[in-house]
Symmetry: D3
Subunit: 192 residues, 6 copies
């Protein structure tokens, strides 16, 4: 269907061997776990300081295990990334959502329209807030925080939802500006 | 992940046995071919006259084999349906696109952002026009038709692209207004 | 005022004599009743199968006489077509609305801003729903269907409102993509 | 069709006899000429100073006879007012446009979509600029003024186009905020 | 930082000596009071009739001292002008707001996001209405006027809020279309 | 003018003494340099890991001295933050821009409308790209990168512009979601 040998992104792919030791180690660890190197790591490796800050920020928000579940965190990522038409993030985090939620269909449903994805009221409230932060943050006010509280979220969980929505608003833009493409492997992950 | 037994749509599901003969026959034929009854058929069966007109219109545009290929027609459907956040249409026609294009990834890429899906210039021009018809038709003008001509499309192919975009602008709205959900079977079709 | 001999649409006008018998018969019947051939019939005649499906679909939604009145159905068409800046549909169906409502001013008021057209609360609710289906269908939810129920609409009437809004979302796009112009006769119909 | 005795606007209608002499005189003069008192005069009479400034500003822009023709000035008003969904201004100035252009159809065409109204290239350029001033004035730049110059407009005509678009952006908002309704007489003016 | 000698606006600057007496007098009076001639006066002087109408209208709305305070009126101007990205109006009226409110920070806060400017509930309601008139006037309805009444505004104050929002919707467009630049003096006014 | 004791943000202010040593040290260093503690540091201190990642990312992009100048980097921040109506970021980084550009007016001009701020063509191209990344990143394509190249930017500078736009798209959302208010001191910085 496609007419171009798919480049993973707009910038040259760095040589693994030429990267700083800590970055190469991180990349090899991901490769060992996933079976392939997600393109985002190769993209950011061009900028070691930015790579380290990005990964640290990502892990602080996404690897945390109090409050929101791992699947809920990925659900936020997929819904926010779809609102920004970010191909890499929807496909890659759609895969992670399928795995974490042990649900082969939820990612496609959330990516297309989270309001019609049959989610729990708590999850619907979570995504309503996340999407408002992602697309109209200047309108966020007390009523939005009250809605989260009524859905059972603590102040710290509200922070997490907003921070994940904000962080992926950044990474969606980085991916879109650099034409970052999803690795083919992501499409099938978690579908069985 | 979900808290509701997933209803296929907002209206009651009609009894197959109570449907007019021609409609039941069409539904059974689809079931035989696909292995399941796509929910859109059950939804529209509530209204036999609308069912017949919808199916006739659909087939006139989508089963035609001159000009645009079958895969190109489905590509238009997926891109337009994504622009309207139509869950049923993106998932169901995403499956058909995978099958017709023999490409397990193209549907996810087109649904998220057709501009970054590595398409041929001809296909990019086709989708630029289809999306303009779907989302800003009052701005369509000579320059858009000239762009199609330069990409090699005939006047009749231009009609087809616009008509498919228009027809699915209708069916996306029908699906969204009735909460039509995709059958689970669609998610895996054509992924291998 | 104008500098072009007004073409009725972007495509060549077909010869009546060369059309399939059923299509010519339908066109002649309309001409007999209206005194002229509305341009949309000449446009669609280029594609006989699409002509038949379009007309059958249109009649199933617009000629029905249970539930919504004929004037209410046209009111939906005018409001939806104005939202899509469809010249042909606003002018032609504005004329039909004037005739069916026996009100020479309502069409101009609904076309410009149905919210300020002095309509009954029931009609206002009907158009609020129709416009949401036409312009933001992905946001339609239970609350919209409840609002219709509170305004006294049955489930079947809700379907009709949504289906008319969806059908004309299609035909507005067809008209806009093909530069379909209204026949001059429509402008004065129903004004006395 | 309507359920309310149509009030001409949200505020009480002032007594003609209680108005300052100059304002009453102006209103009577308009009544003599038109055969009725356009509602906008009654609305603004509540505020004599604003009435005088509004009328003086309006006349400076709309009664001027160098440069743009009277019909072109009204064409701008109709297109801008349609973009703001201003019922009073579209209906009232649509009538004046029909009279000044001696064209019974142009107002309906311009109100729905000026891009498809068969206008002269000069008029199309004029309305493209007017609409950009009305709806995206922060993006107006050198290229827009160059396009006007290429279409043959002088610097003073460019000012007039922009100023008329700006003035009616104000009066559309006044009318919308006060629910100003068009007098029934406007609907038929200039249609024969 | 800038590469151009800053022109005050797109049109030639008129000679003070060549202006009609009343206009020159008004300009000199402003200069005497402010210490400089705000560019808007020089711009409008090109068109004496429009100058007089503009100033009369402005003064009727902005110099009035019943109802809204002087600071509240300027607050409306700043919020509306920011919504239209009008550089001249935000900077010039920001200065006047600082002076009238005796608050060196309020203008920057209102210009960026009045919802987060720590305003009184009355002022928030005032600006919610003003912004709806400025950006979505076709949606203004009874509920908006009821909200103003609940916040303690009379019908005449509601008129003032709407009229100021409408007037500056005009003057923002005039400034944007003519590239009117703020005088450097405005930036520091009222900051101590 | 304001009715609330201004809280610096929605969450409780942490005790400096209770913070991890490295974070307290960083805050004290900033305070020493600026004379006050910018509220963003107190906000993020609630989350030490996120604080560290945020500051590291910020410094990697904003303290870099090859390619873009310090003033240009701040210009991007102000323009992007204004597009997101982020009060904290516009006021705080507006101050830094004034200082770094040694220009007391540029920040107000860029915040209101960078297109009319009298910038160099190179800076205009830089901000056009930054704003497209910030507000429509899914449309960024080859033509945008070519425009940067024609304006003299290298591939690495293009990355910096995009990355700064993306990073502040995140921090604007964090500030908006937490009601982060600018310190009063920022308003006057760099105005003399």
């Amino acid at each position: 269907m496609a007419n171009e040998a798919p480049r993973p992104f707009r910038y040259p792919v760095p040589e693994l061997g030429a990267l700083p030791e800590d970055i190469r180690a991180r990349i090899l660890a991901v490769q060992e776990k996933a079976g392939f190197v997600p393109n985002v790591f190769l993209l950011l490796a061009r900028r070691p300081e930015e790579f380290r800050a990005f990964v640290a920020y990502h892990d602080a928000l996404m690897e945390k295990r109090e409050g929101l579940t791992a699947a809920e965190r990925e659900m936020i990522v997929v819904a926010v990334s779809a609102a920004h038409s970010c191909q890499y993030c929807v496909v890659a985090h759609g895969a992670i959502l399928r795995v974490r939620a042990k649900d082969p269909q939820v990612a496609d449903l959330v990516a297309t329209n989270y309001r019609k994805a049959g989610l729990l009221p708590r999850q619907r409230a979570m995504l309503d807030y996340a999407l408002k932060v992602a697309t109209q943050s200047h309108l966020v006010g007390d009523e939005d925080h009250q809605a989260l509280a009524q859905a059972g979220f603590t102040e710290d969980e509200a922070w997490d939802i907003g921070a994940i929505a904000a962080f992926f608003s950044m990474s969606n833009r980085l991916a879109n500006a650099t034409d970052l493409r999803p690795n083919p492997e992501f499409h099938m992950l978690g579908r069985r």
